[in-house]
């Protein structure tokens, strides 16, 4: 089964060049990609992720509102029983904010210097290590343990 990714653009900002390049790059690498389009609220993104049954949500954000968007998104995923969906991000995110985002469960932030290959490798690695299959395996192992 190919990795399924939701590429999402939260907020009012319309800078979608990066999101579209990411979507196309991941699709060309054999993943199944759904792009939300612009002006999404965190609620809309989480609903789409659950409905589309994706492995990964990729948030593209350039407006500076990442410290409000990501915490809300993570909370909604938790409430929706979908915290096994991996969340990653990219865009303009100040270096100082990256550890704070990782602390609430965002797996990776890709900056403008990341190449297409960095991104593909990163998504594959993160899904292998933290994706739903990995989560289930861990759960099974935990249950099988005496």
């Amino acid at each position: 089964m190919p990795i399924k990714v939701l590429v999402a653009k939260p907020g009012l900002d319309g800078h979608d060049r990066g999101a579209k390049i990411v979507a196309r790059s991941l699709r060309d690498a054999g993943m199944e990609v759904v792009y939300t389009g612009l002006h999404q609220t965190p609620e809309m993104i989480v609903a789409a992720a659950i409905q589309e049954d994706v492995d990964v949500i990729g948030i593209s954000i350039l407006s500076g509102a990442h410290m409000t968007v990501f915490p809300k998104l993570m909370r909604l995923l938790e409430e929706g029983g979908a915290s096994d969906i991996v969340v990653i991000g990219g865009g303009v995110v100040q270096a100082a904010d990256i550890p704070k985002l990782k602390a609430i469960g965002v797996r990776e932030i890709f900056d403008a210097d990341a190449t297409t290959q960095d991104l593909i490798d990163g998504v594959e690695r993160i899904v292998r290590e933290h994706g739903r299959a990995a989560a289930r395996t861990k759960l099974l192992q935990a249950n099988a343990a005496p």
Binding site: V7, G11, L12, D13, G14, R17, I21, A23, R24, A112
Partner: protein, 563 residues
């Protein structure tokens, strides 16, 4: 050139070039090969090793270049150009509340800036009031917040609106902001006939690239039409639309697409207003344009020259324009935000200077130069001062404006000018075949063309066909100089909410309801929207209230996302 003598001269030139390639170039290049098999411009045009008069064999000076201020305006829209006065130096500003941005305007004017340009925050751009739920976290952040005409009064307080031209970067809500501007001018006692300024108001490129929209394309076109028709009658010095290629190029298009999509939008607006029965020469003189100046110097100079020539030809030949003012393309220019890097930000001063020089050699009427902090935040005062000084150095020290269109006649520049024109004409034919601009938007044609071009450019960068100094090449990881950035004032949002609440408390609710009801009635008819909008704004109706009242009439645009 088509006389027999010319043909013979051309043949011998082609022969001589072949000989040079065999005898001189080939043996030399075997020892020292060229860096690349093919060189392409940033916009993807194959660049020849050497251009000669043979490349201009079809070029007819009087037909294709002519004189400045004369058809086809390739050499410039005016006969004196910068020998009379330099371009308008117009640095954009906008953050926080109207009071905050007004202080920046006054600083820039004190530094010698000659025009004003206003950036609004995302809620204002998208038609949400500051107290709307969707505005949370975005009020005053990327531009200034304007909810009512009271904000507009403070925004331009102390500035003589009959003396300085004021540009507003505003699109789906442009007609509301224009109404606020007119009420502001009226309440301060200025004569509308003397107001010089511009609203961007180019809704077509919103669907293509900038992505600020409210209503679907067809009602949105009607709004643009109404502003043009209103201005043609009442605002003789005002530019009601600034047809923009900047955002399309910044979103990854080629130079040819930038010009082609922009001029095609211009033609679409012309057709829309013509359908009202207004003669072309009564409104076309006030149409203005906006292009980027990117880093590929020669391609950019050629692009500006080509844009002027194509516009003149189409306005004359297709739309029967007779007045010079209807045919001569005037444009504002901004250096390329995407060419600026977050690493080693001071390098952006050099990039911006080169881009600004291309704009000037391309004949721009007005120019914004980006701050060195462009890739990091909205500009600081210090960054804007150096950016303005860069323009002043070009104007006062280099002398490039003292002769008109200095690069005309360059074999390379003229060849590129021709090539860009050919590329645009091919696009116009394709758009027509697809049923016109609005239809092509609805079918995602422009959006896919742009996505393809942006992806191609991305791959070229990854292959390192395009290097970025300090990032992909000559990268120095040992240090990254620190620059002071614009400070986001977190309290500005609270101040704006208080301002909005104060205006709402002062106004007459009956006048609000009555003017809104009248606006809805007009929107349902085919009457011009401007007078009713002006009345609503005068009654202190907010931009968000106007948009909310009209959404049920016009509908809401929902994109079909493609990548």
């Amino acid at each position: 050139m088509n006389t027999q003598v010319d043909v013979a001269a051309n043949e011998s030139l082609v022969e001589a070039k072949r000989e040079w390639e065999q005898l001189t170039l080939l043996p030399f290049a075997q020892k020292r090969p060229e860096r690349r098999e093919q060189f392409r411009t940033l916009g993807g045009i194959a660049l020849e090793r050497l251009y000669t008069p043979a490349d201009l064999a079809e070029h007819d000076y009087l037909r294709d270049a002519g004189f400045p201020g004369q058809f086809p305006y390739a050499r410039g829209p005016y006969p004196t150009m910068y020998r009379a006065q330099p371009w308008t130096m117009r640095q954009i500003a906008g953050f926080g509340t109207a009071v905050d941005t007004n202080a920046r305007f006054r600083f820039l004017i004190a530094q010698g800036q000659t025009g004003i340009s206003t950036d609004f925050d995302m809620p204002t751009l998208m038609g949400y009031d500051s107290d709307d739920e969707r505005s949370e976290g975005e009020v005053g952040r990327e531009g200034v917040a304007v909810d009512t005409v009271d904000d507009m009064l403070d925004l331009y307080a102390g500035i003589d609106l009959e003396q300085i031209s004021v540009s507003m970067t505003i699109n789906p809500t442009a007609w509301i902001l224009l109404a606020m501007y007119l009420v502001t001018a009226e309440e301060r006692g200025f004569d509308p006939a003397k107001l010089a300024g511009t609203i961007q108001n180019d809704i077509i490129k919103e669907y293509i690239s900038q992505k600020e929209w409210i209503f679907p394309p067809r009602p949105a076109m009607r709004i643009v039409r109404d502003t043009i028709a209103y201005s043609a009658r009442s605002l003789p010095r005002y530019n009601p639309v600034n047809v923009s290629g900047y955002h399309t190029r910044e979103a990854g298009s080629t130079a040819i697409q930038e010009v082609a999509f922009t001029l095609a939008a211009g033609f679409a607006y012309v057709e829309e207003v013509l359908a009202l029965g207004i003669p072309v020469d009564e409104f076309a003189p006030r149409l203005s344009f906006f292009f980027v100046s990117q880093i590929d110097f020669l391609e950019e100079v050629a692009k500006f020259r080509a844009a002027r020539r194509i516009w003149a030809r189409y306005m004359h030949e297709r739309f029967g324009a007779g007045k010079a003012e209807s045919m001569r393309l005037r444009f504002h220019c901004q250096t390329a935000g995407v060419s600026c890097t977050a690493r080693e930000p001071l390098n952006n001063i050099a990039r911006t200077a080169i881009e600004a020089l291309a704009a000037v050699l391309g004949g721009a009427q007005s120019l914004h130069t980006n701050g060195y902090d462009e890739a990091l935040s909205i500009p600081s005062e210090a960054a804007m001062k150096i950016a303005l000084r860069t323009q002043q150095i070009i104007a006062e020290e280099t002398g490039v404006g003292n002769t008109i269109d200095a690069l005309a006649g360059s074999y390379a520049v003229e060849s590129l000018t021709d090539e860009i024109e050919r590329g645009c004409v091919a696009y116009f034919q394709e758009i027509e075949k697809r049923g016109g601009v609005v239809r092509a938007i609805e079918d995602n044609y422009f959006q896919m063309e742009l996505a393809d071009a942006a992806f191609d450019l991305h791959l070229r960068k990854e292959r390192r066909e395009r290097e970025v100094v300090g990032v992909t090449k000559y990268r120095d990881d040992s240090q990254n100089p620190h620059v002071e950035l614009h400070h986001v004032d977190e309290a500005a949002s609270e101040r704006q909410l208080a301002r909005l609440a104060a205006t709402k408390a002062r106004r007459d609710p009956a006048a609000v309801a009555a003017t809104l009801a009248e606006l809805v009635r007009v929107a349902k008819s085919d009457e011009n929207l401007m007078p009713a909008t002006i009345e609503a704004v005068r009654a202190r109706v907010t931009a968000g209230e106007i948009v909310n009242a009209l959404r049920p009439v016009f509908g809401a645009y929902v994109e079909k996302p493609v990548f």
